[in-house]
């Protein structure tokens, strides 16, 4: 928008991929579990229970901060953030305050192929709250139920500086952040299931020299809703400013149904969390060797991988961009290229057929039964002209559905080498030669003659050829013979 200056900062929470909770040994595998079964005196805040830090949670938080190029603060100090809410059993959340794990980092991402940067203000670790349910077994209409299975799962909170200047940038930045936490294996980054949550601060001004009011947006449960909520909010604030009014500094909720943001009914008064160091948890220094060990586990990150793919495999930016968003997909691609060194062919097939089939079955590449070796074999058969590309696509679908190799699919479907494209070509030419009248009829405009010719090819192949392939081959031969 012309003359509208947008400033956005993000606050992202990711559930860390530990097996046990942050300060007790309850399982974190809470999705779909019977309410209040993954609980203990610590995560339910029973009197006298003492928290003991899960080493892995700390390691994953440090790994996140390192990957975001943060300075790691040498001391780990936990604070109590005090507030009352039914999903918070202790009356406080164990969090971090003036000594977060990491500060002053940088996150790089790309918007339409162009490198962008957002500064990271802080990365800290804290515990998740329980879940409130408004309907369920035993939960009457006038009450709410509390399930503490989620309470105490470790979270990493990542706060950016307000360096983003459009909803598009904010969305791409968030997608990159998800990609990074997945690459690192620190979180599964699933917004729909709530293992990645994002709040945003937006301010809009009509002049580059003034700052608008900071409005916090919550309740955005997908990348699309982040984009839509921010777009709506920018528009809303800009409209107010144009009328000479000023937006109020407040927290607003994204209403997914109505596609609008609405003011939160929360307390008007500023929150006062009365942070203080948790006396149950000793502050400690991160041992240098622990830092070094964690550093060594950080893999190549998405942006570096994309640039390497563009350099090494001569892929275009948009293709490389899609490939590297999913680390497993990028690895599948590379493994396939190792066996069939034609990167662009592999890339095309992966971005079209592989993704199409994954989406159709709502699967990830990790769940796919097709190995990189199996795809390489299929592509080799196309290269040797044993089969055509359209037949290859059909075979791939079958491979994907059954886990069979390309040759197994061909055997099962009765697609012998006779019906492979190279052999079919011979039969097609033979049929053309033997039926000059039909050829003349077709070229004279009688479409029906083509069906007769297809039928002849099918007869010779005893019905084993793919009629679509036969038709295409016939058309190619007939038109090239003109």
């Amino acid at each position: 928008m012309e003359g509208v200056y947008v400033t956005i900062g993000l606050e992202v929470h990711c559930q860390l991929l530990t097996q046990a909770k942050m300060f007790c040994r309850c399982s974190t595998d809470y999705i779909g579990k019977t309410p209040n079964t993954l609980v203990c005196p610590v995560c339910m805040g029973l009197p006298g229970a003492l928290p003991v830090l899960n080493r892995k949670a700390l390691e994953l938080a440090i790994k996140t901060a390192l990957a975001l190029r943060c300075e790691i603060l040498p001391e780990v100090v936990f604070h109590r953030k005090n507030y009352f809410y039914p999903d918070l059993p202790k009356g406080y959340q164990i969090s971090q305050y003036d000594f977060p794990i990491g500060v002053r980092g940088v996150l790089e991402f790309a918007l339409e192929g162009e490198r962008r940067k957002v500064r990271i203000r802080r990365v800290h670790v804290e515990e998740d709250a329980g879940k409130l349910v408004h309907e369920g077994l035993g939960v009457e209409r006038n009450v709410s139920g509390v399930d503490f299975n989620r309470a105490g799962i470790p979270l990493v909170e990542i706060v950016t500086e307000p360096d983003l200047h459009s909803p598009e940038e904010a969305k791409e930045c968030l997608i990159m952040l998800r990609s990074i936490v997945r690459y690192l294996g620190v979180s599964d980054g699933n917004m729909e299931e709530g293992s990645l949550r994002c709040d945003a601060n937006v301010s809009v001004s009509l002049s580059p020299d003034t700052q608008g009011a900071k409005v916090e947006i919550k309740n955005m449960n997908s990348f699309r809703s982040v984009f839509r909520a921010l777009s709506y909010e920018v528009e809303r604030q800009a409209a107010l400013l144009r009328e000479g009014k000023f937006p109020v500094q407040e927290t607003r909720h994204w209403d997914e149904v109505r596609q609008v943001t609405v003011p939160s009914r929360g307390k008007e008064e500023a929150e006062d969390y009365r942070y203080f160091p948790d006396p149950d948890l000793l502050p400690f220094r991160i041992p240098q060797d622990m830092l070094e060990e964690i550093k060594a586990t950080i893999p190549e990150l998405p942006l570096q991988k994309k640039e390497r793919f563009m350099r090494e495999y001569e892929l275009a930016e948009p293709e490389a961009h899609i490939l590297v968003q999913d680390k497993d997909l990028a690895e599948f691609f590379e493994a396939c290229v190792r066996e069939f060194p034609a990167p662009r062919t592999v890339c095309n097939f992966v971005l079209t057929e592989v993704l199409k089939n994954l989406n159709a079955f709502n699967m990830t590449i990790r769940e796919s039964k097709v190995t990189p070796g199996m795809l390489a074999e299929l592509l080799r058969m196309v290269e040797r002209k044993e089969i055509g590309i359209s037949l290859a696509k059909g075979i791939f679908e079958e491979m994907f559905a059954t886990g069979m190799s390309a040759r197994e699919v061909m055997a099962k479907k009765g697609i012998s080498f006779l019906t492979s494209e190279r052999d079919l070509e011979k039969i097609v030419r033979q049929v053309i030669e033997e039926n000059p009248q039909s050829v003349a009829d077709y070229l004279g405009g009688k479409d029906k003659a083509l069906h007769f010719l297809i039928g002849q090819v099918m007869k010779v192949t005893k019905g084993q050829a793919n009629p679509e392939v036969v038709k295409n081959l016939l058309l190619r031969e007939l038109t090239s013979g003109e």
Partner: protein, 103 residues
């Protein structure tokens, strides 16, 4: 202002802690808290220019848990002793706001 607390602040602290007191009680707490703060004011007489803030006196490596889940069998008992429970849920007055409070 260091070393002082107002009656209003005491009222606010009580409110944040979800505690309600009579005016008499508030006045008493106001007096007590003022005395406690005055006592701690003595620390300001020390020159602590070169001392970094200390949140705990111990700096040893604390014990940490391995990342291996362990079942706890007492949840039924906790539900049984809860002020209000139904099914497998702890029951609380209706929470109107949809948001899950966490930031």
């Amino acid at each position: 202002m260091p070393g002082h607390v107002s009656l209003e602040e005491v009222r606010k602290i009580a409110q944040l802690a979800k505690l309600s007191f009579s005016e008499e009680e508030l006045t008493r707490f106001f007096q007590d808290i003022s005395d406690i703060i005055a006592h701690f004011e003595k620390l300001n007489e020390l020159d602590l220019e070169d001392v970094s803030p200390t949140s705990h006196i111990s700096w040893s490596q604390p014990p940490m848990n391995p990342d291996e889940p362990v079942d706890w069998q007492g949840s039924d008992l906790v539900l049984k002793h809860a002020p209000c429970a139904a099914g497998r849920y702890f029951i609380v007055p209706k929470v109107v706001e949809k948001e899950e409070k966490l930031s």
